[in-house]
């Protein structure tokens, strides 16, 4: 069965790149533009893994991850964070919020897929 990935990113460019990369790698992809929409899409789409940006309007990545972890249905879902740099402070905050792992932007498609495969069964 195809794995379903939810991507949350406010940049149209990144959303499109994720969509192309994930679709080519054989994933089902659902997308959201910010944390609030991410939580909504999460409920209806029931993904296997989440890839999220940090800096977003309305609800940022930290808040989004906390929201997911507070949801009984999804608290054990793997969440990968897209970070622009390997900024230790941001990585730690994402981790404290409950992120499973991270991908450093600009991501290389093979690394993205490898990271997703590492956290999904």
């Amino acid at each position: 069965m195809k794995k379903k990935v939810l991507t949350v990113d406010d940049s149209r460019t990144i959303r499109n790149m994720l969509l192309v990369t994930l679709t080519n790698a054989g994933f089902d992809t659902v997308q959201a533009e910010d944390g609030i929409e991410g939580l909504e899409v999460l409920e209806e789409s029931n993904p296997d893994v989440i890839v999220t940006d940090i800096n977003m309007p309305r609800l940022d990545g930290f808040g989004f991850i906390e929201g997911v972890r507070q949801n009984d249905r999804f608290r054990a879902i793997p969440i990968l964070v897209l970070t622009t740099e390997s900024d230790a402070e941001k990585k730690n905050r994402a981790r404290e919020a409950g992120a499973t792992g991270w991908i450093v932007k600009p991501f290389d498609p093979s690394k993205l897929i490898a990271a997703i495969e590492r956290v999904t069964a």
Partner: protein
């Protein structure tokens, strides 16, 4: 979708982000202290950087990164905003826009601009704003000790020496099975904490990942598993001892645990620990469950729940849940290492929550290719024409006055009009982007002229057809430059006059009777009429003794070739004057006027049609041809009387309109519809205003009526036709040409009086 399309999307997005960035900075400059504004500004730069990184646009990434770092300081309250900082940031936004454009269109930008700003931004981020002239960093000291090889002339070469060989030997004794060349053995001790599972990581997956590196020997220690009544289903009790034989290095092994290293104890040592594998653990004998070799085949199973939870299914999960949830909730706050950041985070989160509730649903939009919209507009144009034709043929055939047909026809007409309006609304765009661009123009020119200017915009959301917007930027830029350069005084002069040293430039857009009116108002010195007048006399535009009203003098600045600047300044000069502005506005079917008060400032007002797809025209007959004259060009129409017509030379004629004389242009003759000049008394004269403000009386045979027509371009099939702007199809199905009034007037210049002489004649 391929990468190129995504790249296009990226640049589109950049445009939006840049606009967001600039407007955010301007709001902050105006005293907006909402943290969300700073966040939005930060995100804009961050997004550009992210996308640019994906496309390898290194210059853009590098600059955005520096900019972002400084913004991050502002965002986290490490750096207070100040007018100096905002000035640097606005300049940086401009450079970012230039870099984006350079990345898109090729080309490069002045490196020195970037490097100066990078230094300034850096200084702000480090909390040490550079003084006006920043001292260059001290030169790096030359290395005190030259490299030994360089000076050693004895021919002695140091040989690297290591004890590796001995170590290998010692290890080899311990590790009999490290026989395969190039492979190394590592022992990994791995004990997850419950956090590891809470964050969606999974020991089984990590082991499986590790198994990809080479051969594994895994032993799971389940000694620590408490009796079932004491077991926390969300707890972590197992630990693993793993022997990895791989051709990869220790880094690769460690990398497997990259995501997990915070939430587990992980110890990786080179070599094998056979003792640990063979010996049962200390407490082994007493425990109900002895360490069992971990069966790798288990790894292939699809785990539904974290492995340890699976092992403890007998425990009523529901009862244990509250504790577990509490643990998860506590987790983010656990390490109190950065109390300040934590507090800020908490405050931010709170803020977010309240902001979330307040944010209204964003307007739903879709992106549509402009070609599709244009096609739709064209089709609707056809529909309008078709509807008119149908209506006419019904009238002509007099279908017995069937009320059903007439009623249907009327409804069709109404619907058509509504469809037309709605379609036009699709192309309508707010003038905001153009207005926003003007902010930068003002900053640049204020910098160049040393003036202090504040741009105030109003009615940014006023909508107008996209084509009009696209063509608006150029005349607007020119007028803004002009207003700052010539209109506003220097801060010193303003202060001396008792005015605020900061000049105000007000840019306003509003709808007025089916047109858009844009005003550019400055509170500067106003037009210096004495100077304009003497200049006009000097240039031979007016006679030395002409008696002009203030308004007439003001309007002289629109005259071709008129420029009051003593020398062409780099700023508003550029070899073009207000006449060019006027012409480009007229090409859009618009008009421009000026009102000025000495000492108080000037207001330029331009009024433009809302769309270029339809036009209100006067349908006229010329030599049995039907032509349409744009209504905006027509000042008035008149029936010439014999005594008003005066011959001027062999072929030229003037018409007396009240107390002025105006050249009479025979449209039919100019367009070569007829070889001879028509008798003006048989026709109608349309008084039109053309570029440069000169008036002409266009002579046509008859006026048929006035109607809205759909503009059909001729250029695709006939290229440029002199004297004809476009064509349209009338209700009766006939094609009518739309007259290019300016071109006709220009063509008439060859044989007619020049407009300058007209002015003298009127004076």
């Amino acid at each position: 979708m391929d990468m190129n399309e995504i790249k296009d999307i990226f640049f589109q997005e950049c445009e939006e982000q840049l606009a967001e960035l600039e407007s955010g900075l301007l709001r902050i400059n105006d005293g907006d202290t909402d943290p969300e504004t700073v966040n939005a500004v930060f995100r804009a730069v961050h997004s550009i950087k992210g996308g640019a990184g994906a496309f390898g646009l290194d210059d853009l990434v590098a600059f955005a990164h520096v900019f972002e770092t400084t913004l991050d300081c502002v965002r986290s309250n490490k750096l207070q905003t100040s007018s100096e900082l905002l000035k640097v940031m606005l300049k940086s936004a401009d450079v970012l826009a230039d870099l984006t454009a350079a990345s898109r269109d090729g080309g490069s930008i002045d490196k020195s601009r970037t490097s100066v700003l990078v230094k300034e931004l850096d200084a702000f981020a480090k909390g040490t704003p550079l003084p006006a002239s920043a001292p260059e960093p001290v030169k790096q000291e030359a290395p005190a000790e030259p490299a030994p090889q360089a000076t050693d002339d004895s021919g002695f070469q140091p040989v690297p020496f290591s004890f590796d060989g001995f170590e290998d030997e010692a290890e080899a004794a311990e590790l009999p099975d490290e026989a395969i060349a190039g492979r190394s053995v590592f022992t990994v001790r791995f004990k997850p904490r419950s956090d590891l599972y809470a964050k969606g990581n999974e020991a089984v997956l990590l082991l499986r990942d590790l198994a990809r590196l080479g051969d594994l020997q895994v032993r799971c220690d389940i000694d620590t598993l408490p009796p079932i009544d004491q077991l926390d289903p969300e707890g972590a009790y197992f630990s693993w001892l793993i022997r990895v034989e791989t051709d990869k290095d220790e880094e690769a092994v460690r990398h497997v645990f990259e995501f997990a290293e915070w939430d587990c104890l992980i110890e990786i040592t080179p070599g094998s620990d056979d003792e640990a594998f063979s010996a049962p653990t200390a407490a082994g004998e007493d425990q109900p469950m002895a360490p069992v070799p971990f069966d790798l085949s288990m790894l292939e199973e699809e785990p539904v729940v974290p492995a340890e939870t699976a092992a403890a299914v007998v425990v009523p999960i529901a009862a244990a849940r509250p504790a577990a949830v509490a643990a998860v909730e506590e987790a983010p706050l656990a390490p109190p290492s950065l109390p300040r950041a934590e507090k800020a985070l908490a405050a931010e989160a709170e803020k977010k929550e309240s902001a979330v509730a307040a944010v209204p649903a964003a307007p739903q939009t879709i992106r549509v290719d402009l070609d599709r919209v244009d096609r739709l507009i064209n089709l609707v144009g056809e529909l309008v024409i078709n509807q008119a034709m149908l209506a006419q043929s019904v009238v002509e055939n007099e279908t017995g006055g069937s009320s059903a047909i007439n009623l249907g026809l009327e409804e069709l007409q109404q619907l058509t009009r509504e469809i037309q309006d709605s379609v036009m609304a699709i192309r309508a765009q707010p003038v905001k982007p153009v207005f926003q661009r003007m902010g930068r123009i003002v900053r640049e020119i204020a910098d160049m002229t040393g003036k202090n200017v504040r741009l105030v915009t109003e009615g940014e959301n006023t909508e107008v057809d996209k084509t009009v917007i696209d063509k608006l930027a150029e005349p607007l830029t020119h007028m803004i430059r002009n207003a700052v350069d010539h209109g506003l005084e220097t801060p010193e002069k303003r202060a001396a006059l008792g005015k605020n040293p900061e000049g105000i430039l007000r840019l306003t857009a509003k709808h007025r009777s089916g047109r858009i009116v844009i005003e550019i108002a400055d509170d500067g010195a106003g037009i210096n009429r004495e100077r304009v007048r003497s200049k006009a006399i000097e240039n031979g535009l007016i006679a030395a003794d002409s008696n002009l009203s203030d308004e007439e003098i003001d309007n002289l600045i629109f005259h071709p070739g008129f420029s009051t600047a003593e020398k062409l300044s780099d700023i508003s000069g550029r070899g073009v004057g207000m006449d060019v502005v006027k012409r480009s506005i007229q090409q859009l079917g618009g008009r421009i006027s000026i009102t000025s008060k000495p000492g108080k400032g000037s207001i330029f007002t331009m009024s433009l049609p809302l769309t270029l797809a339809v036009l209100d025209g006067m349908v006229v007959t010329v030599a049995n041809q039907t032509l349409v004259v744009p209504l905006t060009a027509i000042v008035e129409t008149l029936q010439p009387e014999k005594q008003d017509i005066h011959a001027f030379g062999p072929t030229q004629r003037l018409i007396a309109i009240r107390d002025t004389f105006c050249p009479l242009v025979d449209v039919g003759h100019i367009l070569n519809f007829r070889p001879d000049l028509a008798n003006p008394i048989d026709g109608v004269a349309l008084l039109v205003e053309s570029e440069g403000g000169g008036q002409r009386a266009l002579m046509v045979d008859a006026i048929q009526g006035q109607r809205q027509v759909v503009i059909k371009s001729l250029e695709a099939n006939y290229t440029n036709v002199p004297g004809i702007a476009a064509a349209t199809i009338l209700g009766d199905g006939r094609v009518a040409l739309i007259l290019d009034v300016d071109a006709v007037v220009t063509a008439s210049r060859g044989h007619a009086l020049s407009s300058e002489m007209t002015l003298s004649a009127t004076g």
